[in-house]
Symmetry: C2
Subunit: 263 residues, 2 copies
């Protein structure tokens, strides 16, 4: 079992990932983002994107209903269906799902983000939440019948409402029930970089302890990402690979030792 | 078993339909459109909508890749996820699917539409197709496990590509494998009208023979719609109700004899 997270950057080679995954002879669960598409669509539709940074330094997009609908279009609509199309063309029997579908990913709505505004701490509440429970029955129903789930946001909150969530947190939650041997994340970088702007500073291997130290140094979205990566080690032994999703053979390269191996 | 088709008009009362459907104690399969959302989104994104009328008088939207992507966003993204959200809130365990997902609705790409341009007959080929085969295994897997499929376009063609299709044709294909006792279509009118613009000209009942006569008189999209409605009688006895989707209790009204009953 492998969990594959496909980042939402514009330069990710979706076709290459689909072709490589078609060679894999084990069950797969895919989780994907679509942030570049979301930003492009929001800009075209005149929907303002606001990034809030919590008092603890974690950054996230403020999701009102308007932004959530943009996300439904970009994540669940365009990117999810394009991925399912590519997978089907390559012989992978993909089924695209959000956390709403069959209550696949159930979460709890965030009470609010504590942000600093003009020196004061304020609570801002949006339509976002933490994923807490997987509908394991639905997931297993699909997997045992040969389907490959292709999962994205939104998720469903405790009152049945669609809420945004971090895809990295969804990956961690899925790992808590699937116990995959490998979790591979395709990003727009060669892997984990010592210096964010220097592709030559790739760290080819580290352990989860080292990852914790990195978290303290990181900022914004990267800090959030590392926190979610760290959680993956809570559910038994796992190999996590942060790999370049922009190359011709993203998975082949990742399995051949390129990128950053964390264990 | 009931098949419910929810039209894509802007005035359809989705919440009312979800509440009414929650009272139904039999398996449901939902098919929905999103044409109003598609048109709104296409206009905002500057994507031109071209309607072609075939030499035989059937009208359809010309679907290039750009328009198909708008449809992925409007149908599979926003409308499908909004419906799944409403169903979940009302206790219906909905799973949203396009024809691509698990190759649920497999079709054959149209060779082209014969159109008249400046007096000449020309072939225009777009990304559209006719639905031909249902992945009955996936449908039954979901139904027998208590899930309610909520289905929309695109479908998958013979080469694994996403293509647009008429949702009414999808309903007819589903009926060929499901043999539902009732097929209910929610539209933005009180039912089948003798005169298109006169709500008082409602025909409250007709048989499939009379429907065939109406087809000859109809034009444009209505002609296509009637053709698809007629097909429903090819797969055994069925009651078709064309019902007003704009009222407070769309399903309750339909089951209480409002709208047009065809059998």
């Amino acid at each position: 079992m492998m969990i594959i997270k496909i980042g939402g950057g514009a330069a990710i080679n979706l076709q290459g990932i689909a072709q490589d995954l078609a060679q894999v002879n084990e069950p797969l669960v895919i989780v994907h983002g679509a942030n570049a598409l979301r930003d492009e669509l929001a800009a075209k539709l005149g929907v303002e994107k606001r990034v809030l940074t919590s008092a603890l330094g974690y950054a996230s997009v403020f999701t009102d209903r308007e932004m959530l609908e943009v996300m439904m279009m970009a994540y669940a609509g365009l990117r999810n269906k394009h991925l399912v199309e590519l997978f089907q063309q390559n012989g992978i029997n993909a089924v695209g799902l959000t956390g709403l579908d069959g209550r696949l990913i159930q979460g709890k709505r965030n009470r609010g983000i504590r942000v600093k505004e003009n020196g004061k701490i304020k609570m801002k509440r949006d339509l976002s939440g933490k994923p807490r429970r997987v509908n394991k029955g639905l997931l297993e129903l699909l997997l045992t019948n040969g389907f490959t789930p292709v999962i994205t946001v939104p998720i469903v909150d405790e009152n049945g409402f669609a809420v945004n969530s971090e895809n990295d947190d969804i990956v961690a939650l899925l790992q808590s029930v699937l116990h995959a041997e490998k979790v591979i994340q395709f990003i727009e970088a060669p892997g984990f970089l010592e210096k964010a702007d220097d592709p030559d500073s790739l760290i080819s291997a580290m352990n989860f302890g080292e990852l914790e130290q990195r978290e303290a140094q990181a900022k914004g979205r990267m800090k959030r990402k590392i926190l979610a990566l760290r959680k993956l080690s809570d559910f038994g032994p796992v190999e996590v690979i942060l790999a370049d999703g922009r190359v011709e053979h993203p998975l082949e390269n990742a399995l051949n030792g390129e990128g950053t191996l964390i264990r």
